[in-house]
């Protein structure tokens, strides 16, 4: 009934090597990279937000190091 986009961004003042580690970890599970001015973010239409969070925690990232935004969209025909 819905499609989704999970977006992950580095949060706070994350050092560049750590951002690169985040990028590597997310790209390994199919996240795409988006760059806009100084900001970088990663998105996926297949990995759900809770799975992405569990995965990042499992790879040594702490919650304050990233920010996840999950956006659902209704598919055709939903009231």
């Amino acid at each position: 009934m819905v499609s989704h986009v999970t977006t992950v961004s580095p949060a706070g003042e994350l050092a560049e090597p750590r951002v690169n580690e985040l990028a590597g970890a997310l790209q390994a599970i199919g996240f795409r990279v988006h760059r806009k001015r100084q900001h970088v973010s990663f998105s996926s239409e297949t990995v759900e937000a809770h799975a992405a969070k569990a995965y990042l925690r499992g790879h040594g990232f702490r919650d304050p190091e990233f920010q996840i935004v999950l956006e659902y969209s209704r598919l055709w025909g939903i009231m």
Binding site: M1, V2, H4, V5, T7, S9, A11, G12, H34, R35, K36, H39, V40, S41, S43, E48, A49, H50, K53, R62, D63, P64, F66, Q67, I68, V69, L70, E71, Y72, S73, R74, W76, G77, I78, M79
Partner: protein, 446 residues
């Protein structure tokens, strides 16, 4: 604001943007037409079907008197919707073909719904459109090109913005605080009821409970989607919450107007009750229209759009904070960051169009003398009301055609039970507040 890059659809490809362009464009075109003396041309687009009984002679005479009416109505909306389709990225050819058939259905159900006998049986256009749609949608396989035109949310947003033009901004300002107060009482109570029933009684995940609670208390499917996203609920849980909303919303389209009539409620009170206790905008408009009085539609809109829909962003922020702290068992310093941009990200943007339409018409009426004001109401506001009626008819047909009951029954008994507990609280509470606590106010909305 957020530092998240905009990965979702850009603003010009969003349904809300085009609903605003189309409806606000119509409001401005009709207003300009009035001042340029082109009202007869505008009036020709706003096709009205008279009430008839016995033979169809009266309807045939109406079509004969304004032969260009149906063509003009069809052409204006086909052009507008096709332009939107092209930019949004829908298949324009399929959409146009589908809309042509939907338009024919809308003419047929409006003619039938204008029959005196059917009106006496309370089977006016809204319920008839729903019934026809549900009957065909659940018994016949609809062709793909027709399905592409069944855009319930798009049509209802166009209708709501057009409705803004018939609702003076002064009424919105006066009713706003009361509508917000009533909506907040009911929304908080219902959300808490469903959430605690889901998590404490039936052992569901808190995010699932919050998504169900949002669907049952804030603004239906849109809330389930917004809150499900804000608290990172699982996709399957959001789908179940949507099924719950649709099932109950469709049932309430028939139940609430019937109860309101049997209880002898005044239209203003009935509309406020429906605005408080219906679960989705489109379904609520069908229920409020079924009351058969413009006052019900006005009080419904004040309650639903101003009182409930506007605050989904605030709810999203609160639930997102709960999600990363309490439900994740983290202290604020250890939790994932949530920013206030959440409020704007989840805000239903079409409401800006609704408020702008109301402001435009209120400003025009305040700028001209009383005699011109009366003429403006007749030559500009009345046609807009008619165009709004057509947008809602396409909405109701689309609800009917897209409500597939077989697809809505894939859920467990626990979410159903949690949602049902919320309904048991929401409906009587909405009735009590509308018909007793704030009745004088709702009866005063003209």
């Amino acid at each position: 604001m957020s530092n998240i890059a905009p990965i979702a659809l850009p603003w010009h490809r969003r349904e809300d943007t085009w609903a605003i362009f189309i409806a606000l464009g119509l409001v401005l075109a009709v207003t300009t037409g009035f001042f340029l003396g082109a009202s007869p041309f505008v009036g020709a687009t706003a096709l009205t079907i008279p009430t008839w009984s016995g033979s169809l002679a009266k309807v045939a005479a109406t079509f004969a008197a304004q032969p260009a009416g149906p063509i003009a109505l069809f052409a204006v909306f086909l052009l507008a919707f096709s332009a939107a389709s092209a930019v949004i990225g829908w298949d324009v050819g399929k959409y146009a073909a589908g809309f042509a058939l939907l338009f024919v259905f809308s003419i047929v159900v409006t003619v039938l719904g204008s029959n005196q006998t059917l009106k006496q049986w309370q089977l006016e256009t809204p319920l008839l459109a729903l019934a026809v749609g549900m009957l065909l949608g659940n018994s016949v396989t609809l062709p793909g090109w027709f399905q592409s035109a069944l855009r319930t949310e798009f049509y209802v947003k166009v209708g709501i913005i057009l409705l803004g033009a018939t609702l003076p901004f002064t009424i919105i300002l006066q009713a706003g605080p009361l509508a917000i107060a009533q909506a907040t009482i009911v929304a908080v109570t219902t959300f808490a009821t469903i959430y605690f029933a889901a998590t404490r009684l039936f052992g569901l995940d808190p995010r699932f409970g919050a998504t169900l609670g949002a669907g049952g208390s804030i603004c239906g499917v849109s809330a389930a989607i917004a809150i499900g996203g804000a608290c990172r609920a699982e996709k399957s849980h959001v789908s179940v919450a949507i099924s719950m909303v649709i099932l109950w919303a469709v049932a309430m389209i028939f139940v609430l107007p019937l109860w309101a009539r049997n209880l002898g409620l005044e239209p203003g009170v009935a509309g406020a009750w429906i605005g408080t206790s219906e679960f989705a905008d489109a379904a609520g408009f069908a229920a409020a229209s079924a009351v058969g009085d413009e006052r019900a539609i006005k009080t419904f809109t004040l309650m639903k759009v101003v009182g409930r829909d506007m605050f989904v962003g605030v709810w999203a922020l609160v639930v997102a904070l709960l999600s990363v702290t309490i439900w994740d068992r983290k202290k604020s310093g250890e939790a994932e960051r949530v920013d206030v941009g959440e409020i704007w990200r989840r805000f239903p943007k079409f409401i800006l169009g609704f408020l702008a339409a109301s402001l435009v018409v209120t400003f025009v009426l305040a700028s001209i003398d009383a005699k011109s004001g009366t003429r403006f109401s007749k030559e500009a506001i009345a046609p807009l009301k008619t165009l709004r009626g057509w947008a809602f008819t396409w909405t109701f047909l689309s609800i009917g055609f897209t409500t597939r009951f077989r697809e809505l029954t894939r859920f467990g008994w626990r979410p159903f039970a949690a949602f049902a507990v919320g309904v048991i609280v929401n409906v009587p509470l909405g009735y009590w507040l509308s018909a007793h606590v704030f009745a004088d106010y709702w009866n005063g909305v003209k």
